[in-house]
Amino acid sequence: MSSPPTSSPIDPSLPLRAKGGDRQAFAQLVELCYPRSLRFALHMVGNREDAEEAVQDTFVRVYHHLGRFRDDGRFEPWLFRILANRCRTVLDKRRRHAEVIQYGDVPDRGAPTVVDGPDWMEEIHKVLATLPVEQREAFLLRHVEELAYEEISAVTGVRLSALRMRVKRACDVLRMRLAEVRRDDR
């Protein structure tokens, strides 16, 4: 498998040039940020189609709101804030749809086959799907996208202490449910 998307910082001049109307700069921003954005969305919403839609929607919003991006701000937290909101919207829509049309057995929409491969990924996704949205989001931002807690606070608007608690709880659940799976595999 190719190397994972890196978390190296975006050249700060790119968002500024894009803000100034430079389309090439915006195109470069999209190219650089797309893989990480897709990865986050994929693990938040659980299927590729919804994830791609959320990511596309996010970049269109980024483009239209570049005027509000502070010149001294960091781009990724700003991007992730919009993306996280889009993902939550997708999840809300899905939940409402499920509530409207289903009674009794609700098919497990949160269990995707994102990667046709080892059951391990499926298991991870199953567990992620059981986490409350805010815990899943905090875990992914911290441990997968490797944002600092201060940046996650900027993304979510939540206090640092509450964030650490969310991440800790997510880790506890993942550890508990997946340790068994790993033991079984050995």
């Binding site: 897709l38 990667v115 880790c171």
Partner: protein, 196 residues
């Protein structure tokens, strides 16, 4: 608080991080750029408004007013000279594209991607019967590989088009069938867009 990572979390982290390839899918990027550029890029005026968080005049409204003025201009026959060429930061394709985007369920327009290889070019534009052959309506975006691309919504049917390279050289699409040109004798290309 101690670092929560341990063997299980590390394994989860590793798997999730590796789940997406490093390189962006160019088609996805092209779709995003087309969607974002379906409305004009922010003008200086808009950016000034944004900075003050003031509401922005509807783009459709502005276009309608401009067209009314345009019609009045024809009546008067006293047109003013063309404005100066756009500054680097000003907008091209100023007015909203008239076709309703394919993402709108009411529309029968189909998102159609065009691709053109021109690593040495500075600019490539898609011109055709669907955008009145106006060079600023559908600029292509250059990907790092030197391939240019744009995705536009097209109504089902037959469309004739070409690529305008560096604002001067009109080229047919080597990947498409040729269209004869009874009026101007400059061959272009044909795309048949299926109905939905």
């Amino acid at each position: 608080m101690t670092d929560e990572r341990d063997v299980v979390i590390e394994a989860v982290r590793g798997t999730l991080r590796a789940s997406v390839a490093d390189e962006a899918d160019p088609r996805a990027v092209a779709r995003i750029l087309s969607a974002a550029w379906a409305a004009p890029a922010p003008s200086r005026w808009r950016r000034w408004l944004d900075a003050w968080h003031l509401p922005v005049v509807s783009r459709v409204g502005a276009a309608v007013v401009a067209v009314i003025a345009l019609a009045a201009g024809f009546v008067a026959r006293g047109v003013l000279p063309n404005r100066a060429v756009a500054e680097p930061m000003a907008v091209t394709g100023e007015f909203p594209v008239p076709v309703v985007p394919a993402s709108d369920p009411r529309s029968s327009a189909v998102s159609t991607q065009f691709v053109f290889e021109a690593p040495a070019a500075q600019s490539v534009a898609l011109v055709g019967d669907f955008n009145a052959w106006v060079p600023t309506a559908a600029p292509l975006v250059r990907l790092p590989s030197g391939v240019w691309t744009v995705t536009v919504p097209l109504m089902p049917g037959r469309h004739v088009y070409a690529f305008l390279v560096d604002g001067a050289r009109l080229e047919a699409d080597p990947r498409a069938s040729a269209a004869a040109d009874a009026d101007y004798g400059r061959p272009s290309s044909v795309v048949m867009v299926p109905g939905r």
